[in-house]
Amino acid sequence: MSSTEPTELRHTALDALHRSLGATMTDFAGWDMPLRYGSERDEHLAVRTKAGLFDLSHMGEITVTGAQAAALLNFALVGNIASVGVGRARYTMICRADGGILDDLIVYRLAETEYMVVANASNAQVVLDALTERAAGFDAEVRDDRDAYALIAVQGPESPGILKSLTDADLDGLKYYAGLPGTVAGVPALIARTGYTGEDGFELFVKPEHAVELWQALTKAGEGAGLAPCGLSCRDTLRLEAGMPLYGHELSTALTPFDAGLGRVVKFEKEGDFVGREALTEAAAEAEQNPPRILVGLIAEGRRVPRAGYAVVAGGEVIGEVTSGAPSPTLGKPIAMAYVDAAHAAPGTEGVGVDIRGSHEPYEVVALPFYKRRK
């Protein structure tokens, strides 16, 4: 897709550490990232039952400041960003004028007039360019902070205990989708209670020069709790089980948030115009009256694994397409997310299968997510 990908892979501040841990590395959006350290299944289960440690430094941080920072983000994004309280975060999207999704984002309000927008690595430049262009006429500054941060995530039920041993910050008072500045293991960090695994957990934004020190402190603090270093492979199966979309799979410029079943992120009631308002108003009506394909979960009855791009079939007809698929460590069966025609989208719909290299394998249609943690 992208022609702007650098030919030379970028390396995070933790690169040498990953190699010393024996990680298998992979090219992810131009970054050389850990795919797995050992068994990705074990890493997945560590996050579900204990805790996992991730290097997510490839994510793209963009800082927006200024008296009209809130107004700019309300115009540039589909969410009501002005209503986000200081110290809180919001899942949102940035769309084109035609309603197509440019990226999904988490926006943290760090101060009254300061926000941090976190974009997917593959879209960071696109988001930066769009925000910069949309900032024209606003009293606000858009700053590329991709190199200003390393991002380390601690995810899983043991993560609060592990982090508590390294910080005086009030973690109990830190709600899901909140972030506060603090100190972790002597290192200044933005501590956010966010993640992409379906578990409780934290994301720690720190200066790159502090990343190794923080990673090592977390590793030591997590020794007794079963903390395992985790790669992007298990991050993908964790988010898939949790029914979370991944840009380039469930989300693309060809789809609006309504197509993706995420129309709730579009806040028409907010003040003023925003990019995509007109097209999204139509998309919302269309989704209600004549729904396009609907994003569903599929669970295999057999053991062959559906992959992105495989056709979903019923009665010999193609009725949809798999967007993500993997063997689910938690369910012990292959699972997939797929867009299917509305007529076949209801949970329990009979006769739905996936064309796995020419053979139609039976699949059960289920509502997302596949996995929900017990609170």
Binding site: R36, R41, S233, T237, R304, A326, P327, P334, R357
Partner: protein, 125 residues
Amino acid sequence: MNNPQQLRYSKEHEWLSAAENGVSTVGITEHAANALGDVVFVQLPEVGATVAAGETCGELESTKSVSDLYSPVSGEVTEVNEDVVDDPSLVNSAPFEGGWLFKVRVAEEPGDLLSAAEYTEFSGS
């Protein structure tokens, strides 16, 4: 990595044991298993099936991908490893032993199978 001396290897990363009464055992190498990641499903040829050197005869599914299984030699399949069908993780934990895949009565073998030293150099591990 430790590629056993007594085996021979294909460039598709299968290994082949020395024939006993004309029958050799086939599996995938540790290098291949590591590259795949956790194997979750194996589809093996059926007993009695004829396999041809360098042609696909099954598949291996891992978390991230599906890979074809190639036969390193031509011949008739005499046995498949049911243990590995039940527990595909054997491919990862013991690729040269309990994770073997099938046995074949060798009719013909290609001339380009590699020694352990040659395969180690070829695969870089």
